[in-house]
Symmetry: none
Subunit: 237 residues, 2 copies
DNA sequence: AACACAGTTCTATCTAACAGAACTTATGCG
DNA sequence: CGCATAAGTTCTGTTAGATAGAACTGTGTT
């Protein structure tokens, strides 16, 4: 390898450059971006506009992007199909959703299920509270692993776990990831994978006081235990 | 090289081949496929295994695919993030308006989009015909749910739907809600909500004869299907 | 009218994507 | 148990085709 232009950000081996670039275009859409202009995409990715124009033709053909009248790019419907497929391929969903729904009904607060994904946690499933004031997290959202009740659960119950760890459940957080939000969370285990995720109840701090959380605790623990048993994992007796 | 101009034959033109191929790998996952082997992917896409191996490195890096212990490929979590983003970026209006405009241009009649609202239906969006004689409904108008083509659609396609229901599309009404007005309507579905509304063409009975409506029918059906697909819902094949 | 800026087209150059053979594990089957 | 066959992986010479960047068009602003 005669060293190429100074440019290459990824540099590292393997893969196909044009594919990396194309996916970086899709990837530069972040929460809140409804539409991005060619110039904006060029700024975010560092690619030449002509290159983007070429790559987006392929992305449009595949339905990953849609170009609007005003020349702006938006994400395309194929992503929804694939996102749905991904979720269903984890058959977790069938078991988790009913539990979330029940948790939400019993507690009145939003119930979510987080999975670890590298150095992050993603909200795999969620049942929103029906109350007017609630926290806003959506399925697919990626949150930090080191903040929030669910984050702590995914960190602490990843390896071998002591009885003391279970005694501390549910793990709580108050105004930690977001200043106005509180949460309580428990782990979920399966037969084959061990820790698969964290069940959490979350909402505004005004409703997440120590007292209130103490009421939610047994609901969460029961749900975590029940779901884990369904998946073949188990809590200590 | 010699004369570049001549070589316009394949004309699959535009786009980047390696990106097309990479996306065809992701695209070959269909409902029910939890995991695909290298060989299976090669069979479905027609690509060489070595090519797939190279391309999948990029797809894995981007989180579009995950490779399991057993060497099988599964869809990756990035797809869920993007799918979620897509759904939230859906502003119903952005997708409905262009469809209405096209419907109106193709048919020459006023096109409207109705949503159910309790025991009523309201005209959420509308594109008026340019003809001098036309029916007069405005955005925001509240009409009865039990009269008119769009009303019937919103009633009949609300719950579970049979193939026979689809065979009857578009639903028609002649001088029903208003003595001088006729209409034809089809349902629109989305991924999450199911039935979201009804697309309708309406105008004076003098232009809404059985014959004329028969001409509009395929336009409406195509529009309903297309819009539904954009929103992640679907018509039966 | 002149400017600035977004989007688009075009092309010579040379990278890096490709096909296919060769090789190394796994899996089945008699 | 061992032979057969298929799955997965690595390697390489060739050249297709992806790239960078200049040039161009169109649109809105002062």
């Amino acid at each position: 390898m005669t060293d190429a232009k100074a440019n290459t950000t990824t540099a590292s081996s393997g893969g196909v450059e044009s594919v990396d670039r194309a996916l970086s275009i899709v990837g530069c859409f972040q929460a809140g971006d409804h539409a991005l202009s060619l110039t904006e995409i060029a700024a975010r990715t560092g690619l030449y506009k002509s290159t983007i124009l070429r790559l987006t033709v392929s992305l449009e053909k595949a339905g990953y992007l849609v170009r609007h009248q005003d020349k702006s790019y938006r994400l395309g419907p194929e992503l929804m199909r694939l996102g749905g497929l991904y979720q269903r391929s984890l058959r977790l969903e069938d078991h988790v959703r009913p539990v979330l729904r029940q948790l939400m009904r019993e507690s009145g607060e939003s119930a979510s299920f987080f999975r670890r994904e590298g150095a992050w946690r993603i909200c795999a499933f969620r049942e929103d509270s029906t109350q007017a004031i609630r926290d806003h997290v959506h399925e697919g959202d990626r949150l930090p692993l080191d903040r929030g009740a669910a984050g702590h659960v995914l960190s602490r119950f990843a390896g071998t776990v002591s009885a003391a760890d279970f005694a501390a459940l549910p793990l709580r957080s108050f105004g930690e990831r977001e200043s106005e939000t509180g949460a309580a969370a428990v782990p979920v285990f399966s037969q084959r994978e061990g820790l698969v995720g964290a069940l959490t109840l979350s909402g505004p701090l005004t409703r997440f006081t120590e007292d209130r959380v103490a009421v939610m605790a047994p609901l969460l623990l029961a749900a975590g235990r029940r779901l884990s048993e369904t998946l073949g994992g188990h809590y200590p007796a």
